[in-house]
Amino acid sequence: MEDDSILIKRYLEGEEEGLKILIDKYTSSVYNFTLRFIGPLNTSDVVQEVFIKVWKNLKNFNEDKSQFKTWLFIITRNSITDYYRKKKSIPFSSLREEELNEDEIKDEAILPDEMLEKLQDKEILNKILNELPENYRMILALYYQEDMTFKEIGEVLGKPLNTVKSYHFRAIKLLKKLCTKI
């Protein structure tokens, strides 16, 4: 598959196909990510809105500042926020900036096998994830589904690296806690 920057260059040079390939490549990722926050009813509309914003702003995209995927998820996050704003609820402020505990900044947090087995059930996983605060859910989705690094997640969420690491640690901790309750 062609590199994103080559596809963007092709599109900006007048080849429509470049954008079409980018849309095909990322629609599922953006859809699956958005679905977790918005639900199936309005996800398609929000995803469409995301790609229309991408089309409108692709000329201004600066690949020296961030990767296309990171930029795309920043737009997605903003579109989800806009959606919540229209619905008059605040999505990503459910967590206030807390004092960071250095012990919490760990890269790895592995779930035990029996918990993983429990989470294989889609309904259970959905139920647990829906109980997590939005920021925690977003970090888990970007880290485990989209294979983004903590640095990239920090760019998407507009948070420092250590805050992202701390949120990730707390998210796993909460996931474990909720898992044991079920």
Binding site: G14, N32, V47, Q48
Partner: protein, 132 residues
């Protein structure tokens, strides 16, 4: 990274929306076509307006040249070249003074705006042809 958790996330959230990407592409194409249409209309309007202005200013400029004595000054070059060579500074000043500068500036501006509009309309039409 916890590979098991990553595998789990990817298994559970794996909705493939092949139709959605086609819908998105169609929506973008429709928006692009609409934007091209609006721009074409806008540039055509500006082009027509510039052409009208250009014709108007050109007629007025012809009259201004005639009334300012510019042509008489020019004809002096052929009839009395020696005198002009002697008083060339004064001659040049009088020649420049007889030029309708404001109208000439307006004419050049309208010409530029007309050419830019024509260029843009051609670009839009080319885009439309490629798009279709």
């Amino acid at each position: 990274m916890d590979k098991n958790l990553s595998k789990l996330f990817k298994q559970v959230y794996n909705y493939s929306e092949s139709r959605l990407s086609d819908d998105i592409w169609r929506a973008i194409q429709a928006k692009e076509a609409r934007s091209l249409k609006i721009q074409s209309l806008l540039y055509s309007f500006v082009g027509i307006l510039s052409l009208g202005g250009f014709v108007f200013i050109a007629i007025s400029l012809k009259q201004q040249f005639a009334s300012s004595g510019f042509f008489e000054y020019v004809s002096l070059i052929f009839s009395d070249g020696g005198l002009i060579a002697l008083y060339w500074k004064e001659y040049l000043l009088s020649l420049v003074d007889s030029l309708p500068i404001a109208s000439l500036g307006a004419l050049l501006f309208l010409l530029c705006s007309m050419l830019v509009s024509i260029r843009k309309v051609i670009q839009q039409l080319k885009g439309k042809l490629l798009f279709n």
